[in-house]
Amino acid sequence: MFESLVQNSIVKFLIAGTSQASERSGIDFNLSAAFTEQSISITIVGYFVVFVALLILFGSIAAFTTIMINKQKKNMDASGKQKGSAKREDIEMTGDVNAAIALALHMHFDEAHDFESTVLTIEKVQRRYSPWSSKIYSMRRFPRQY
Protein backbone atom coordinates (compact mmCIF):
# COMPACT_ATOMS: atom_id res chain seq x y z
CA MET A 1 0.00 0.00 0.00
CA PHE A 2 1.23 3.48 -0.85
CA GLU A 3 1.25 4.90 2.64
CA SER A 4 3.38 2.08 4.02
CA LEU A 5 5.78 2.48 1.09
CA VAL A 6 6.23 6.16 1.82
CA GLN A 7 6.47 5.31 5.50
CA ASN A 8 9.32 2.85 5.17
CA SER A 9 11.24 5.08 2.81
CA ILE A 10 10.83 8.01 5.14
CA VAL A 11 11.45 5.98 8.31
CA LYS A 12 15.08 5.64 7.23
CA PHE A 13 15.23 9.39 6.50
CA LEU A 14 13.70 9.94 9.93
CA ILE A 15 16.07 7.63 11.76
CA ALA A 16 19.01 9.26 10.04
CA GLY A 17 17.68 12.66 11.06
CA THR A 18 16.91 11.81 14.64
CA SER A 19 19.99 9.71 15.27
CA GLN A 20 22.12 12.69 14.35
CA ALA A 21 19.91 14.66 16.72
CA SER A 22 20.42 12.08 19.42
CA GLU A 23 24.17 12.30 19.02
CA ARG A 24 23.91 16.03 19.44
CA SER A 25 21.85 15.67 22.60
CA GLY A 26 23.86 12.59 23.55
CA ILE A 27 20.86 10.27 23.91
CA ASP A 28 20.76 6.79 22.40
CA PHE A 29 18.05 5.98 19.89
CA ASN A 30 16.39 2.62 20.42
CA LEU A 31 14.29 1.41 17.50
CA SER A 32 12.75 -1.57 19.33
CA ALA A 33 10.89 0.91 21.53
CA ALA A 34 9.47 2.54 18.41
CA PHE A 35 8.22 -0.65 16.74
CA THR A 36 5.95 -2.12 19.39
CA GLU A 37 2.70 -3.67 18.21
CA GLN A 38 0.69 -0.76 19.66
CA SER A 39 2.82 1.95 18.08
CA ILE A 40 2.78 0.31 14.68
CA SER A 41 -0.98 -0.21 14.73
CA ILE A 42 -1.51 3.37 15.86
CA THR A 43 0.70 4.61 13.05
CA ILE A 44 -0.74 2.46 10.27
CA VAL A 45 -4.37 2.66 11.37
CA GLY A 46 -4.10 6.33 12.32
CA TYR A 47 -2.55 7.48 9.08
CA PHE A 48 -4.95 5.25 7.15
CA VAL A 49 -8.01 6.71 8.91
CA VAL A 50 -6.83 10.25 8.21
CA PHE A 51 -6.71 9.34 4.54
CA VAL A 52 -10.09 7.62 4.60
CA ALA A 53 -11.72 10.60 6.34
CA LEU A 54 -10.43 13.10 3.83
CA LEU A 55 -11.06 10.72 0.93
CA ILE A 56 -14.73 10.36 1.86
CA LEU A 57 -14.98 14.10 2.36
CA PHE A 58 -13.39 14.59 -1.07
CA GLY A 59 -15.70 12.04 -2.64
CA SER A 60 -18.86 13.49 -1.21
CA ILE A 61 -17.91 17.06 -2.08
CA ALA A 62 -17.10 15.98 -5.63
CA ALA A 63 -20.43 14.17 -5.89
CA PHE A 64 -22.41 17.06 -4.39
CA THR A 65 -20.63 19.50 -6.67
CA THR A 66 -21.41 17.61 -9.87
CA ILE A 67 -25.07 17.38 -8.83
CA MET A 68 -25.11 21.13 -8.20
CA ILE A 69 -23.48 21.86 -11.54
CA ASN A 70 -25.81 19.61 -13.51
CA LYS A 71 -28.78 21.26 -11.80
CA GLN A 72 -27.38 24.67 -12.69
CA LYS A 73 -26.95 23.52 -16.30
CA LYS A 74 -30.58 22.32 -16.37
CA ASN A 75 -31.82 25.64 -15.03
CA MET A 76 -29.68 27.44 -17.53
CA ASP A 77 -31.15 25.46 -20.43
CA ALA A 78 -34.63 25.94 -19.00
CA SER A 79 -34.68 29.74 -18.73
CA GLY A 80 -32.44 32.19 -20.53
CA LYS A 81 -32.90 34.71 -17.78
CA GLN A 82 -31.37 32.47 -15.10
CA LYS A 83 -28.76 31.38 -17.58
CA GLY A 84 -27.80 35.01 -17.96
CA SER A 85 -27.55 35.54 -14.23
CA ALA A 86 -25.60 32.32 -13.81
CA LYS A 87 -23.16 33.43 -16.51
CA ARG A 88 -22.79 36.80 -14.84
CA GLU A 89 -21.88 35.05 -11.60
CA ASP A 90 -19.22 32.94 -13.27
CA ILE A 91 -17.67 35.91 -14.94
CA GLU A 92 -17.67 37.94 -11.76
CA MET A 93 -16.09 35.01 -9.97
CA THR A 94 -13.20 34.52 -12.34
CA GLY A 95 -12.92 38.29 -12.34
CA ASP A 96 -12.42 38.01 -8.60
CA VAL A 97 -9.85 35.32 -9.06
CA ASN A 98 -7.74 37.57 -11.23
CA ALA A 99 -8.21 40.49 -8.87
CA ALA A 100 -7.24 38.11 -6.11
CA ILE A 101 -4.04 37.11 -7.79
CA ALA A 102 -3.19 40.70 -8.59
CA LEU A 103 -3.83 41.60 -4.98
CA ALA A 104 -1.83 38.63 -3.73
CA LEU A 105 1.25 40.01 -5.44
CA HIS A 106 0.47 43.51 -4.36
CA MET A 107 0.06 42.43 -0.76
CA HIS A 108 3.16 40.33 -0.84
CA PHE A 109 5.21 43.42 -1.51
CA ASP A 110 3.74 46.28 0.47
CA GLU A 111 1.25 44.77 2.87
CA ALA A 112 2.62 46.86 5.71
CA HIS A 113 2.39 50.04 3.71
CA ASP A 114 -1.14 49.62 2.56
CA PHE A 115 -2.04 48.40 6.04
CA GLU A 116 -1.04 51.76 7.50
CA SER A 117 -2.68 53.71 4.74
CA THR A 118 -6.11 52.35 5.59
CA VAL A 119 -6.59 52.93 9.28
CA LEU A 120 -10.10 54.21 8.74
CA THR A 121 -11.15 51.26 6.63
CA ILE A 122 -10.10 48.83 9.32
CA GLU A 123 -12.78 46.26 8.53
CA LYS A 124 -11.09 45.66 5.21
CA VAL A 125 -7.71 45.28 6.77
CA GLN A 126 -8.55 43.05 9.69
CA ARG A 127 -9.81 40.43 7.30
CA ARG A 128 -6.48 40.41 5.62
CA TYR A 129 -4.37 40.80 8.70
CA SER A 130 -4.66 37.38 10.19
CA PRO A 131 -2.27 34.48 10.35
CA TRP A 132 -4.92 31.90 9.65
CA SER A 133 -7.49 33.36 7.31
CA SER A 134 -7.51 32.31 3.70
CA LYS A 135 -6.26 35.26 1.73
CA ILE A 136 -8.86 34.52 -0.88
CA TYR A 137 -11.54 35.79 1.44
CA SER A 138 -9.94 39.14 1.99
CA MET A 139 -9.15 39.37 -1.67
CA ARG A 140 -12.79 38.95 -2.55
CA ARG A 141 -13.19 42.23 -0.77
CA PHE A 142 -11.60 44.52 -3.28
CA PRO A 143 -12.10 43.57 -6.86
CA ARG A 144 -12.53 47.27 -7.62
CA GLN A 145 -9.17 48.19 -6.13
CA TYR A 146 -7.36 46.84 -9.17
Binding site: F2, E3, V6, Q7, I10, V11, F13, L14, G17, T18, A21, S22, R24, S25, I27, F29, N30, A33, A34, Q38, S39, I42, T43, V45, G46, Y47, V49, V50, F51, V52, A53, L54, L55, I56, L57, F58, S60, I61, A62, F64, T65, M68, M93, T94, V97, A100, I101, A104, L105, H108, A112, R127, S130, P131, W132, S133, S134, K135, I136, Y137
Partner: protein, 365 residues
Protein backbone atom coordinates in the same frame (compact mmCIF):
# COMPACT_ATOMS: atom_id res chain seq x y z
CA UNK B 1 18.89 29.17 38.68
CA UNK B 2 20.17 32.51 37.29
CA UNK B 3 21.65 31.32 33.99
CA UNK B 4 18.50 29.44 33.05
CA UNK B 5 16.36 32.53 33.41
CA UNK B 6 18.87 34.52 31.38
CA UNK B 7 18.82 31.90 28.62
CA UNK B 8 15.03 31.95 28.50
CA UNK B 9 14.91 35.74 28.53
CA UNK B 10 17.20 35.74 25.52
CA UNK B 11 14.90 33.22 23.83
CA UNK B 12 11.97 35.53 24.54
CA UNK B 13 13.81 38.47 23.05
CA UNK B 14 14.65 36.41 19.97
CA UNK B 15 10.96 35.54 19.52
CA UNK B 16 9.93 39.18 19.77
CA UNK B 17 12.69 40.26 17.40
CA UNK B 18 11.79 37.61 14.81
CA UNK B 19 8.17 38.75 15.01
CA UNK B 20 8.89 42.45 14.64
CA UNK B 21 11.87 42.42 12.30
CA UNK B 22 11.13 39.34 10.19
CA UNK B 23 7.33 39.54 10.57
CA UNK B 24 7.23 35.79 11.37
CA UNK B 25 3.75 35.02 12.80
CA UNK B 26 3.83 38.18 14.95
CA UNK B 27 0.37 37.59 16.41
CA UNK B 28 1.75 34.46 18.06
CA UNK B 29 5.43 35.21 18.66
CA UNK B 30 4.98 38.59 20.33
CA UNK B 31 2.63 37.29 23.05
CA UNK B 32 4.64 34.09 23.52
CA UNK B 33 7.93 35.97 23.54
CA UNK B 34 6.73 38.48 26.10
CA UNK B 35 5.20 35.67 28.13
CA UNK B 36 8.61 34.00 28.20
CA UNK B 37 10.05 37.20 29.66
CA UNK B 38 7.28 37.39 32.27
CA UNK B 39 7.75 33.75 33.20
CA UNK B 40 11.47 34.14 33.69
CA UNK B 41 11.87 37.25 35.80
CA UNK B 42 14.52 35.98 38.20
CA UNK B 43 13.76 35.37 41.88
CA UNK B 44 10.04 35.45 41.25
CA UNK B 45 9.54 31.91 42.54
CA UNK B 46 11.69 32.48 45.60
CA UNK B 47 9.51 35.32 46.83
CA UNK B 48 6.68 33.15 48.05
CA UNK B 49 4.07 35.51 46.60
CA UNK B 50 1.31 34.23 44.33
CA UNK B 51 3.12 35.21 41.14
CA UNK B 52 4.47 32.22 39.25
CA UNK B 53 2.26 30.61 36.65
CA UNK B 54 2.55 27.33 38.56
CA UNK B 55 1.55 28.84 41.93
CA UNK B 56 -2.17 28.27 42.39
CA UNK B 57 -3.99 31.51 43.13
CA UNK B 58 -1.78 33.60 40.87
CA UNK B 59 -3.39 35.50 38.02
CA UNK B 60 -1.17 33.77 35.47
CA UNK B 61 -2.25 30.46 36.93
CA UNK B 62 -5.94 31.32 36.50
CA UNK B 63 -5.41 32.46 32.92
CA UNK B 64 -3.26 29.38 32.25
CA UNK B 65 -6.25 27.16 33.08
CA UNK B 66 -7.62 27.97 29.63
CA UNK B 67 -4.59 26.09 28.34
CA UNK B 68 -4.41 23.25 30.85
CA UNK B 69 -8.15 22.54 30.58
CA UNK B 70 -7.96 22.68 26.79
CA UNK B 71 -10.50 25.50 26.52
CA UNK B 72 -8.53 28.05 24.47
CA UNK B 73 -7.74 25.84 21.45
CA UNK B 74 -11.36 25.14 20.49
CA UNK B 75 -12.17 28.83 20.81
CA UNK B 76 -9.27 29.63 18.50
CA UNK B 77 -10.57 27.04 16.05
CA UNK B 78 -13.95 28.76 16.23
CA UNK B 79 -12.32 31.98 15.13
CA UNK B 80 -10.20 30.29 12.49
CA UNK B 81 -13.32 28.70 11.07
CA UNK B 82 -15.03 32.09 10.98
CA UNK B 83 -12.07 33.46 9.00
CA UNK B 84 -11.32 30.59 6.66
CA UNK B 85 -12.65 30.46 3.14
CA UNK B 86 -12.81 26.88 1.93
CA UNK B 87 -13.62 27.81 -1.67
CA UNK B 88 -10.17 26.90 -2.93
CA UNK B 89 -10.64 23.43 -1.46
CA UNK B 90 -14.25 23.11 -2.66
CA UNK B 91 -13.33 24.09 -6.19
CA UNK B 92 -10.70 21.34 -6.38
CA UNK B 93 -11.48 18.81 -3.63
CA UNK B 94 -8.91 16.22 -4.65
CA UNK B 95 -6.28 18.53 -3.13
CA UNK B 96 -7.78 17.40 0.19
CA UNK B 97 -5.56 14.31 -0.10
CA UNK B 98 -2.42 16.43 0.11
CA UNK B 99 -3.61 17.61 3.50
CA UNK B 100 -3.93 13.98 4.52
CA UNK B 101 -0.57 12.93 3.14
CA UNK B 102 1.33 15.60 5.06
CA UNK B 103 0.14 14.12 8.36
CA UNK B 104 2.73 11.36 7.92
CA UNK B 105 4.96 13.73 9.88
CA UNK B 106 2.77 13.23 12.94
CA UNK B 107 2.96 9.47 12.98
CA UNK B 108 6.62 9.04 12.13
CA UNK B 109 7.57 11.60 14.76
CA UNK B 110 5.40 9.65 17.16
CA UNK B 111 7.53 6.58 16.54
CA UNK B 112 10.76 8.54 16.66
CA UNK B 113 9.73 9.97 20.02
CA UNK B 114 9.11 6.43 21.28
CA UNK B 115 12.56 5.47 20.05
CA UNK B 116 14.00 8.36 22.06
CA UNK B 117 12.40 6.94 25.19
CA UNK B 118 9.26 9.05 25.58
CA UNK B 119 6.12 7.36 26.89
CA UNK B 120 3.38 6.55 24.37
CA UNK B 121 1.23 9.48 25.51
CA UNK B 122 4.15 11.89 25.42
CA UNK B 123 5.20 10.60 22.01
CA UNK B 124 1.71 11.18 20.59
CA UNK B 125 1.63 14.74 21.92
CA UNK B 126 5.09 15.40 20.48
CA UNK B 127 4.11 13.91 17.14
CA UNK B 128 1.33 16.45 16.72
CA UNK B 129 4.00 19.14 16.32
CA UNK B 130 4.23 17.71 12.81
CA UNK B 131 0.66 18.86 12.31
CA UNK B 132 1.98 22.41 12.22
CA UNK B 133 -1.06 23.53 14.17
CA UNK B 134 -0.48 25.33 17.46
CA UNK B 135 -3.95 24.97 18.95
CA UNK B 136 -4.17 21.28 18.03
CA UNK B 137 -0.78 20.63 19.58
CA UNK B 138 -1.72 22.45 22.80
CA UNK B 139 -5.07 20.68 22.99
CA UNK B 140 -3.52 17.23 22.67
CA UNK B 141 -0.70 17.97 25.10
CA UNK B 142 -3.19 19.22 27.66
CA UNK B 143 -4.91 15.85 27.47
CA UNK B 144 -1.97 13.47 27.02
CA UNK B 145 1.13 15.18 28.44
CA UNK B 146 0.30 18.33 30.47
CA UNK B 147 3.88 18.57 31.72
CA UNK B 148 5.09 19.04 28.12
CA UNK B 149 2.57 21.70 27.03
CA UNK B 150 5.17 24.43 27.21
CA UNK B 151 7.89 22.75 25.17
CA UNK B 152 5.45 21.35 22.62
CA UNK B 153 3.67 24.66 22.13
CA UNK B 154 6.92 26.59 21.85
CA UNK B 155 8.29 24.04 19.37
CA UNK B 156 5.12 24.06 17.28
CA UNK B 157 4.91 27.83 17.10
CA UNK B 158 8.62 28.26 16.50
CA UNK B 159 8.55 25.99 13.48
CA UNK B 160 5.31 27.52 12.20
CA UNK B 161 7.09 30.85 12.36
CA UNK B 162 10.13 29.38 10.66
CA UNK B 163 8.17 27.84 7.78
CA UNK B 164 9.74 30.32 5.33
CA UNK B 165 13.15 29.04 6.45
CA UNK B 166 12.42 25.31 6.80
CA UNK B 167 10.33 24.51 3.75
CA UNK B 168 12.09 26.04 0.70
CA UNK B 169 15.22 23.83 0.81
CA UNK B 170 13.13 20.67 1.11
CA UNK B 171 10.86 21.77 -1.72
CA UNK B 172 13.82 22.55 -3.95
CA UNK B 173 15.41 19.23 -3.02
CA UNK B 174 12.38 17.16 -4.02
CA UNK B 175 10.99 19.07 -7.04
CA UNK B 176 12.53 19.02 -10.51
CA UNK B 177 12.79 22.39 -12.24
CA UNK B 178 10.17 21.18 -14.72
CA UNK B 179 7.72 20.36 -11.94
CA UNK B 180 8.21 23.73 -10.30
CA UNK B 181 7.05 25.44 -13.48
CA UNK B 182 3.73 23.56 -13.78
CA UNK B 183 0.80 25.96 -14.01
CA UNK B 184 -2.65 25.00 -12.74
CA UNK B 185 -6.09 26.00 -14.03
CA UNK B 186 -7.72 28.88 -12.09
CA UNK B 187 -10.19 27.42 -9.58
CA UNK B 188 -13.86 27.32 -10.65
CA UNK B 189 -16.54 29.44 -9.01
CA UNK B 190 -18.02 27.93 -5.83
CA UNK B 191 -21.71 28.42 -5.12
CA UNK B 192 -23.06 29.77 -1.82
CA UNK B 193 -24.93 26.51 -1.23
CA UNK B 194 -21.74 24.45 -1.44
CA UNK B 195 -20.07 26.77 1.05
CA UNK B 196 -22.98 26.41 3.50
CA UNK B 197 -23.32 22.64 3.16
CA UNK B 198 -19.60 21.98 3.53
CA UNK B 199 -19.12 22.92 7.21
CA UNK B 200 -22.27 21.04 8.23
CA UNK B 201 -21.47 17.87 6.33
CA UNK B 202 -17.75 18.14 7.01
CA UNK B 203 -18.29 18.33 10.75
CA UNK B 204 -20.69 15.39 10.89
CA UNK B 205 -18.46 13.22 8.70
CA UNK B 206 -15.05 13.95 10.21
CA UNK B 207 -16.19 13.76 13.83
CA UNK B 208 -18.18 10.63 13.05
CA UNK B 209 -14.93 9.02 11.87
CA UNK B 210 -12.76 10.61 14.55
CA UNK B 211 -14.91 11.63 17.53
CA UNK B 212 -11.85 12.73 19.49
CA UNK B 213 -11.58 15.67 17.10
CA UNK B 214 -15.03 16.98 18.03
CA UNK B 215 -13.91 19.89 20.24
CA UNK B 216 -11.56 21.14 17.53
CA UNK B 217 -13.38 20.30 14.30
CA UNK B 218 -16.81 20.98 15.76
CA UNK B 219 -15.77 24.52 16.59
CA UNK B 220 -13.83 24.98 13.33
CA UNK B 221 -16.82 24.08 11.19
CA UNK B 222 -19.20 25.93 13.50
CA UNK B 223 -17.22 29.11 12.99
CA UNK B 224 -17.19 28.51 9.25
CA UNK B 225 -20.97 28.06 9.18
CA UNK B 226 -21.37 31.34 11.06
CA UNK B 227 -19.29 32.94 8.31
CA UNK B 228 -20.95 31.29 5.32
CA UNK B 229 -24.58 31.18 6.49
CA UNK B 230 -24.90 34.85 5.51
CA UNK B 231 -27.38 35.44 8.33
CA UNK B 232 -25.01 35.37 11.33
CA UNK B 233 -22.49 37.95 10.19
CA UNK B 234 -22.24 39.70 13.54
CA UNK B 235 -21.46 36.43 15.31
CA UNK B 236 -18.84 35.51 12.72
CA UNK B 237 -17.28 38.95 13.10
CA UNK B 238 -17.01 38.68 16.88
CA UNK B 239 -15.70 35.11 16.71
CA UNK B 240 -13.09 36.00 14.08
CA UNK B 241 -11.99 39.22 15.75
CA UNK B 242 -12.45 39.96 19.42
CA UNK B 243 -12.96 36.39 20.63
CA UNK B 244 -9.95 34.92 18.84
CA UNK B 245 -7.84 37.97 19.62
CA UNK B 246 -8.59 37.79 23.35
CA UNK B 247 -7.88 34.07 23.44
CA UNK B 248 -4.71 34.50 21.37
CA UNK B 249 -3.43 37.12 23.81
CA UNK B 250 -4.13 34.99 26.88
CA UNK B 251 -2.97 31.73 25.31
CA UNK B 252 0.20 33.28 23.97
CA UNK B 253 1.29 35.02 27.14
CA UNK B 254 0.50 32.08 29.43
CA UNK B 255 2.11 29.49 27.16
CA UNK B 256 5.14 31.75 27.07
CA UNK B 257 5.15 32.17 30.84
CA UNK B 258 4.83 28.43 31.29
CA UNK B 259 8.44 28.13 30.09
CA UNK B 260 9.91 28.94 33.49
CA UNK B 261 13.54 27.98 33.23
CA UNK B 262 13.12 25.91 36.39
CA UNK B 263 10.66 23.57 34.69
CA UNK B 264 11.49 24.16 31.03
CA UNK B 265 15.22 23.78 30.50
CA UNK B 266 15.45 19.99 30.40
CA UNK B 267 16.92 17.46 27.96
CA UNK B 268 13.33 16.55 27.06
CA UNK B 269 12.66 20.06 25.79
CA UNK B 270 15.73 19.87 23.58
CA UNK B 271 14.72 16.49 22.17
CA UNK B 272 11.23 17.81 21.55
CA UNK B 273 12.72 20.67 19.57
CA UNK B 274 14.80 18.31 17.44
CA UNK B 275 11.83 16.00 16.88
CA UNK B 276 9.67 18.98 15.96
CA UNK B 277 12.10 20.09 13.28
CA UNK B 278 12.30 16.60 11.86
CA UNK B 279 8.55 16.09 11.86
CA UNK B 280 8.10 19.39 10.04
CA UNK B 281 10.50 18.27 7.34
CA UNK B 282 8.83 14.90 7.00
CA UNK B 283 5.39 16.50 6.78
CA UNK B 284 6.61 18.83 4.05
CA UNK B 285 8.18 15.96 2.16
CA UNK B 286 5.12 13.77 2.66
CA UNK B 287 2.71 16.26 1.14
CA UNK B 288 5.05 17.02 -1.70
CA UNK B 289 5.83 13.42 -2.62
CA UNK B 290 2.14 12.55 -2.56
CA UNK B 291 1.46 15.37 -5.01
CA UNK B 292 4.04 13.84 -7.34
CA UNK B 293 2.37 10.45 -6.82
CA UNK B 294 -1.03 11.91 -7.73
CA UNK B 295 0.47 13.36 -10.90
CA UNK B 296 1.10 9.80 -12.07
CA UNK B 297 -2.66 9.41 -12.43
CA UNK B 298 -3.53 12.88 -13.72
CA UNK B 299 -3.52 13.66 -17.42
CA UNK B 300 -1.50 16.61 -18.71
CA UNK B 301 -3.18 19.96 -18.12
CA UNK B 302 -4.64 18.67 -14.88
CA UNK B 303 -1.26 17.90 -13.31
CA UNK B 304 -0.55 19.45 -9.93
CA UNK B 305 2.42 21.63 -9.22
CA UNK B 306 3.92 19.33 -6.58
CA UNK B 307 5.17 22.31 -4.57
CA UNK B 308 1.60 22.89 -3.34
CA UNK B 309 1.82 19.54 -1.57
CA UNK B 310 4.19 21.19 0.87
CA UNK B 311 1.34 23.46 1.95
CA UNK B 312 -0.43 20.37 3.30
CA UNK B 313 1.34 20.81 6.62
CA UNK B 314 -1.18 23.60 7.40
CA UNK B 315 0.63 26.47 9.13
CA UNK B 316 -2.04 28.57 7.41
CA UNK B 317 -1.41 30.72 5.46
CA UNK B 318 2.38 30.92 5.67
CA UNK B 319 3.26 27.65 3.96
CA UNK B 320 0.85 28.57 1.14
CA UNK B 321 2.62 31.91 0.84
CA UNK B 322 6.01 30.22 0.78
CA UNK B 323 4.87 27.97 -2.07
CA UNK B 324 3.43 30.96 -3.90
CA UNK B 325 6.64 32.98 -3.71
CA UNK B 326 8.76 29.99 -4.75
CA UNK B 327 6.47 29.63 -7.74
CA UNK B 328 7.02 33.28 -8.52
CA UNK B 329 10.76 32.82 -8.31
CA UNK B 330 10.72 30.41 -11.21
CA UNK B 331 7.91 32.00 -13.26
CA UNK B 332 6.53 35.36 -12.21
CA UNK B 333 3.34 34.62 -14.14
CA UNK B 334 2.57 31.53 -12.05
CA UNK B 335 0.10 32.30 -9.25
CA UNK B 336 -0.01 29.31 -6.90
CA UNK B 337 -1.37 31.05 -3.79
CA UNK B 338 -4.99 30.00 -4.22
CA UNK B 339 -4.08 26.46 -5.27
CA UNK B 340 -1.79 26.14 -2.22
CA UNK B 341 -4.58 27.33 0.09
CA UNK B 342 -6.52 24.14 -0.61
CA UNK B 343 -4.03 21.62 0.84
CA UNK B 344 -3.23 24.28 3.42
CA UNK B 345 -6.71 24.29 4.97
CA UNK B 346 -7.08 20.57 4.35
CA UNK B 347 -3.97 20.17 6.49
CA UNK B 348 -5.77 21.79 9.41
CA UNK B 349 -8.59 19.28 9.12
CA UNK B 350 -6.13 16.45 8.59
CA UNK B 351 -4.09 17.12 11.68
CA UNK B 352 -7.22 17.57 13.80
CA UNK B 353 -8.51 14.21 12.59
CA UNK B 354 -5.14 12.64 13.38
CA UNK B 355 -5.20 14.23 16.82
CA UNK B 356 -8.66 12.80 17.42
CA UNK B 357 -7.50 9.33 16.47
CA UNK B 358 -4.50 9.50 18.80
CA UNK B 359 -6.80 10.58 21.65
CA UNK B 360 -9.20 7.73 20.88
CA UNK B 361 -6.36 5.22 20.87
CA UNK B 362 -4.74 6.46 24.07
CA UNK B 363 -7.60 7.83 26.18
CA UNK B 364 -10.46 5.75 24.78
CA UNK B 365 -11.73 2.77 26.75
Amino acid sequence: MEWGHVVMIIVGLVFITLAIVKDYEPLLLVPIGFGILMGNIPFVENIGLQLGIYESGSVLNYLYMGVTKGIYPPLIFLGIGAMTDFSALLSNPKLMLLGAAAQVGIFLTFMAALALGFSVDEAAAIGIIGGADGPTAIFISSKLAPHLIGSIAIAAYSYMALVPVIQPPIIKLLCSKKERLIKMKPPRAVSKVEKIVFPIFGMVLTTFISPGALPLLGMLFFGNLLKESGVTKRLADTASKQMIDSVTILLGVTVGASTQATTFLTPDSIMIFVLGAVSFMIATAGGLLFAKFMNLFLKDGNKLNPMIGAAGVSAVPDSARVVHSLGQEYDSSNYLLMHAMAPNVAGVIGSAVAAGILLSFLLGA
